[in-house]
């Protein structure tokens, strides 16, 4: 007997089909029912237009798409023997805005998704405060928009640089938003200074927390999420940034990686047509996103958590809480070190004469985002997008389960639905 569940309040729409056995999930498949066809919309257009079109793949992580496009074009230049060398200023501004988008995502996920779904699971009567998430996110996007002009849907990154040429006024303004955001996170979420929070060494120290995260952590333990929602214990990070270490991990063993080994395979969705494809690395499924990134950089408290609770739903949620704090600190140091006297843009060779292929890889909020392009005389011949949710929430046949399928197995339906959300589902990206 299969039960169908509509998943709401994610990015877009998804349906899960549960095969139950003895009251727990024996097997689950996932369908993403909506088709949008952006890859075919891109075909034949000038490659520069992709800078405007791909951010519109996704309302919550469009900036990551913009960066993936820019990196893919710059990679194509490199492959054509016209390497684009970026200066520190360009790299730092781009990274700052990308990080701000991740931060807004995490704020929303914590307050609009995870806390309410956990409350639903534990039948808690606590008053929900989703607008705290919106407020935190809006501060992050203000800081982002100072450089990018707007969020969502900016196109300020271009091959060879960025369109913006900030003065110290913009830098100071962005710094003040980041400071405000840090205070807000400390006061509302942590009840502890950011510095102290980042220096916690063991999960046993979480009782020093006082804010919303304390309640979240308690509720996770109460629902035994530290013993549930285990996936393959394999992690993948592909995007190269100052806050990541591209690598794959099997448990705690670290291996080097190359995005060229990523492939997408057909989804197994027997009950409903799904427009998603599953992403694999060398024929294996890996979990991607904050837990993977924090494991790859060897962040002490996350490693401690992993030692105790492996890749449980608990670790997945808490890693994201820590990544948010880690990225807030990182964004501060990025702003401090931007040299405004460097050029914002370095002229590239004529793009209308560019004939080459390229691959852009970025760590988006949910993990590696890959754009692959073939360009002929500046026109798009082929555009292929692989998104993080395709790694985490594919739908496959036994025995080779995707991370989300594996994590839901053996749980009650209610628990499984919560665990599903710990991956931070982006349906719109998945069915690009």
């Amino acid at each position: 007997m299969t039960t169908k569940k509509l998943i709401e309040q994610i990015e877009g729409e998804a349906n899960i089909y549960f095969d139950m056995k003895d009251g727990v999930v024996d097997f689950a498949t996932v369908a993403f029912p909506h088709f949008r066809g952006l890859e075919s919309i891109l075909k034949g257009k000038n490659i520069m237009d992709a800078l405007v079109i791909t951010p519109r793949v996704c309302g919550i992580c469009g900036h990551a798409h913009l960066m993936a496009t820019v990196r893919a074009i710059e990679d194509a230049y490199k492959n054509a023997g016209e390497t684009v060398v970026l200066n520190e200023k360009i790299e730092k501004i781009r990274e700052f805005t990308l990080v701000m988008e991740i931060i807004q995502n995490h704020f929303k996920w914590i307050y609009l998704t995870i806390i309410p779904s956990l409350a639903k699971l534990s039948k808690s009567e606590d008053i929900q405060t989703p607008l705290k998430g919106a407020f935190g996110a809006s501060l992050a996007t203000k800081a982002l928009a100072i450089f990018a002009g707007q969020w969502p849907h900016s196109s300020y990154m271009i091959p060879g640089g960025v369109t913006t040429d900030p003065t110290n006024i913009e830098i100071l303004k962005a710094q003040s938003y980041v400071e405000e955001l840090i205070s807000f996170y400390e006061k509302e979420a942590l009840g502890l200074s950011l510095e102290k929070f980042l220096n916690l060494e063991s999960c046993t120290e979480f009782n020093t927390l006082e804010g919303d995260i304390r309640d979240l952590e308690k509720a996770l333990v109460k629902e035994e999420m530290n013993k549930k929602g285990f996936s393959h214990d394999r992690f993948l990070v592909l995007g190269k940034h100052n806050y990541t270490v591209p690598s794959k991990l099997k448990q705690t063993r670290v291996f080097s990686v190359d995005a060229k080994y990523v492939e997408d395979v057909t989804t197994y969705s027997p009950k409903e047509k799904s427009y998603a494809k599953n992403a694999q690395y060398k024929n294996e499924y890996y979990e991607t996103g904050p837990l993977s990134r924090m494991m790859a950089i060897g962040f002490p408290i996350v490693k401690n958590m992993h030692r105790r609770f492996k890749d449980s739903a608990y670790s997945r949620v808490m890693a994201r809480v820590f990544e948010l704090a880690y990225l807030l600190k990182h964004s501060k140091s990025l702003l401090q070190s931007i040299s405004i006297d460097q050029p914002s843009y370095l002229k590239t060779a004529d793009i209308n004469k560019l004939t080459a292929s390229g691959r852009g890889v970025v760590e988006a909020p949910r993990g590696p985002l890959i754009h692959e392009i073939d360009i002929k005389d500046g026109l798009i011949q082929k555009y292929k997008i692989i998104t993080p949710t395709q790694f985490n929430i594919g739908s496959s046949q036994k025995p080779s389960l995707t991370p989300a399928q594996k994590a839901m197995t053996g749980l009650t339906q209610e628990e499984a639905l919560f665990v599903f959300r710990t991956f931070d589902v982006c349906s719109v990206c998945t069915t690009h």
Binding site: P33, R36, G37, N46, A137, I158, G161
Partner: protein, 301 residues
């Protein structure tokens, strides 16, 4: 959550073919709490409402204000129910229907997913067409990709206060769309004196002649009501792509279409002859202040 005495207008937000960009744009609204208390939120894609997604798809209730995000695809299903059925059900009795974003207004980006059938609610690009034509007088289009949160807030607040929202021929609120994106651009002086930008990434120069800026041809108040309260595309040196107009997305967005070096499109309402006369004259002058760098950091030690 609400009592029978709750007289606030009810609000429903549903989606067609979309990227969720308008939903996320809306969440950026400063003081969103002050706006939301004016309404009973029945259902929203990311904020908790009184009814679930399944209730919404099953058409189990009615609303005073219907917000629609995304392109309309008559064959699309939401929660297993045809979107055409859902939209008709709620539109029939709603007092106001708001299309948020250019997809809902004109088809926009996701018209291209299925160009032969996707459209906006009452327009397919600038042609009157769409599922809600018979309710056209109730429809307000907040065009933009995405719609600006304060534009959405303005429209909802006017409705909540019982005030009439005057609209243009494309059903966009006149108070928001009588401006051009060009108004308030901090590069206006470069446009006036025809000092063209020579590259991206510079504070100086106008993006109209070389880099495809559509601001003088685009109805929008982006440079009056700033994005995220801080900036706009042209303020950070990105050309305006004309995302509030029915022809968005156009092609070759980063370059200006020219015939024999003459821009094909000139500012709205300005005869080409007048534009060219003025341009020829303005270009004759060389104004040092505008041709030099605004700030030279290398010089200031």
């Amino acid at each position: 959550m609400h009592s029978k005495q709750d007289k606030r207008p009810t609000l429903l937000w549903i989606q067609g073919v979309t990227c969720n960009g308008n939903t996320h744009s809306f969440l950026n609204l400063p003081n969103i709490d002050q706006l939301l208390v004016k309404f009973r939120l029945l259902h929203h894609p990311s904020l908790a409402g009184e009814y679930s997604f399944e209730d919404m798809a099953a058409c189990r209730f009615k609303c005073d204000i219907l917000i629609f995000e995304g392109a309309y695809d008559p064959l699309m299903k939401r929660g297993g129910v045809l979107l055409s059925k859902i939209v008709e059900h709620y539109a029939q009795t709603a007092g106001h229907i708001i299309g948020v974003g250019s997809c809902a207004s004109f088809g926009g980006m996701f018209k291209a997913s299925a160009p032969e059938r996707n459209s906006g609610l009452i327009f397919n690009e600038e042609i009157e067409y769409g599922p809600l034509l018979k309710y056209k007088s109730k429809v307000i289009n907040i065009a933009g990709c995405p719609a600006h949160p304060e534009w959405i807030s303005y429209t909802l607040s006017m409705i909540a206060a019982g005030k009439k929202v005057q609209v243009d021929e494309l059903h966009r609120p006149i108070e928001l769309f009588s401006n051009l994106a060009h108004h308030g651009c901090i590069r206006n002086e470069y446009f006036e004196w025809k000092v063209d930008a020579v590259a991206f990434g510079k504070k100086e120069g106008c993006l109209f002649y070389e880099y495809g800026c559509r601001a003088p041809m685009t109805h929008a108040s982006c440079n009056k009501i700033l994005w995220n309260e801080v900036s706009s595309k042209t303020r950070v040196g990105t050309p305006c792509f004309g995302c509030t107009e029915p022809d968005f997305p156009r092609q070759n967005l980063f370059s200006t279409k020219k015939n024999m070096s003459i821009p094909v499109d000139v500012p709205i309402g300005v005869p080409k002859r007048s534009y060219l006369t003025l341009t020829g004259i303005a270009k004759a002058f060389h104004i040092q202040r505008l041709e030099g760098k605004l700030i030279d950091y290398k010089k200031t030690d």
